[in-house]
Amino acid sequence: MASISPYGKRFISYIRQSQIRRLVGSGVRIDGRTPHQLRDVSIRTNVVNTADGSAEALLGKTRVVAGVKVGLGQPFPDTPDEGVLIVNAEILPHASPYSEIGPPDETAIELARVVDRGIRHSGFVDFKKLAIDQNKVYVLWVDLYVLNDDGNLVDAANLAALAALRSTMLPSAVKDEAGVKLDRNNKTALPSDLSKAPIAVSIGKIDSRIIVDPNLEEELSLDGRITITIAQDSIVSMQKTAGYFTEQELWQAVDLAYSIRDKLRDVLLKSLV
């Protein structure tokens, strides 16, 4: 029964876990950060020249490459005048001792779907401009490849996806008797609006202390984890991915997400100049 969710293959020793938790309790973290401090973030675009758009995001040691391929297809019946976005994620067997060969597991599927929802609801890509005619639209295939997993894949993959889409050059659509074809010798920039970029911010909780950008060992020690994606002033996506939050803790997490969003957005904007 393939759709039964599998169980935590990841684990951490009790002694390490209690060390991480004790440290957070006293306001420091296992890697020397303060509770609300991000790891170093860097984003590079056009890292793969065979793709129509690509980018690599590094969040500390976490490393994700996003590649965009543009195709042609039919629109969804309920949005006949819009292009199509398909996000897929693979956590490569390279990425950590916990990842295995095989089709995307529930973690990879969730990763892809959370990134997808942020982009879809933010207005970052103008899907209306991706319609070609009545039943032909551009299809944006965004593939997120996790090369190294040191925690907080969602934030890193989201930044990589945004930068890759921002760097995407759309092949022109040529119509002839045989139908519509793509001409890769003739490209224009994908219509996108950076001011609407959806920024994903993942927040962890240990006891009732809130931390940002948990690394892998911290992820394995948390009492709660939530990803909050913000575009302009709106929350466009949320996903609680571990444990629980009280209402009070939730308000704290949302406030923190807004301030961290500003920092991540600045890094994104700088790297796209």
């Binding site: 529930e106 879809r120 929350i235 949320m238 009280t246």
Partner: protein
């Protein structure tokens, strides 16, 4: 923006006649599957979820068991005939795999898994009829099935959805509102401990609307919790009556 076939909100009334903060008719029964260790059927209006629990039982394959706690497995699945339009392919979709994961993570905080090392607890939820809010109906059904199975729990987990329809926060989305509304937020809530164990959101929500939505979800969950308690007790009243005869 997609246009709904009928207006979603007219003068404070929703397409099915409800007020914004009103649940659909909630029907709950437990012990509906005699072979299972615990089971429950939950309907929110036309959405019906059936949950069965097997376990705690031996973990197979053995090497996947954990030495310090039970492993919990959750499967959320929609029957091919459960949807209004075409037949749903019974193969598990990416959506169903994601929902299975978030439901498991919504239930785990409620269960004393550490009391059952090396064993597993299986929770199967089938959507037999879908009209919006299927994952939250599944969550209520799953937690009631676990309680019915006698699995030690910190609290029940009650699922309710809230959404944004014409800028208004509404409780318990039906299929129409789910398709054409501007936002959707499923919530899982432990009514006695005040803990949120399931939270997903999409659409475009201001901070104020989000805060309003969480408050409404908590209120909705407390209402459903009353019904859930009644259903759990009703089973034992029935047994007591049987014995009295």
């Amino acid at each position: 923006m997609k246009q709904p076939p009928v207006p979603l909100l007219v003068e404070g009334r929703r397409a099915d006649g409800r007020a914004p903060d009103q649940m659909r008719d909630v029907r709950i029964s437990v012990g509906v599957i005699s072979n299972a260790d615990g089971s429950a059927m939950v309907s929110y209006g036309n959405t019906t979820a059936v949950a069965a629990v097997y376990g705690p039982r031996e973990m197979h394959p053995r090497h996947l068991s954990l030495p310090d706690k039970a492993v919990m497995r959750v499967r959320y699945h929609m029957a091919p005939f459960s949807t209004k339009d075409e037949r749903k392919n019974p193969a598990p979709s990416r959506r169903e795999i994601e929902i299975s994961k978030v439901l498991r993570e919504a239930l785990e905080p409620a269960i004393f898994l550490e009391q059952f090392p090396r064993s597993r607890i299986d929770v199967f939820v089938e959507i037999v009829q879908a009209d919006g809010s299927t994952r939250v109906a599944s969550l209520t059904a799953a937690s009631l099935a676990l309680a019915d199975a006698g699995v030690p729990m910190r609290d029940l987990v009650i699922g309710v959805s809230v959404g944004l329809v014409n800028g208004v926060v509404v409780l318990d989305l039906n299929g129409l509102e789910d398709n054409y509304g501007e936002g959707d937020m499923p919530v899982g809530y432990m009514p006695n401990l005040g803990r949120i164990t399931l939270l997903q959101l999409d659409g475009a929500w201001s901070r104020d609307r989000f805060a309003e939505a969480v408050k409404l979800a908590v209120k909705g969950a407390e209402y459903v919790y009353g019904k859930a308690r009644e259903a759990l007790k009703a089973k034992y009243f029935e047994i007591a009556e049987e014995v009295a005869k």
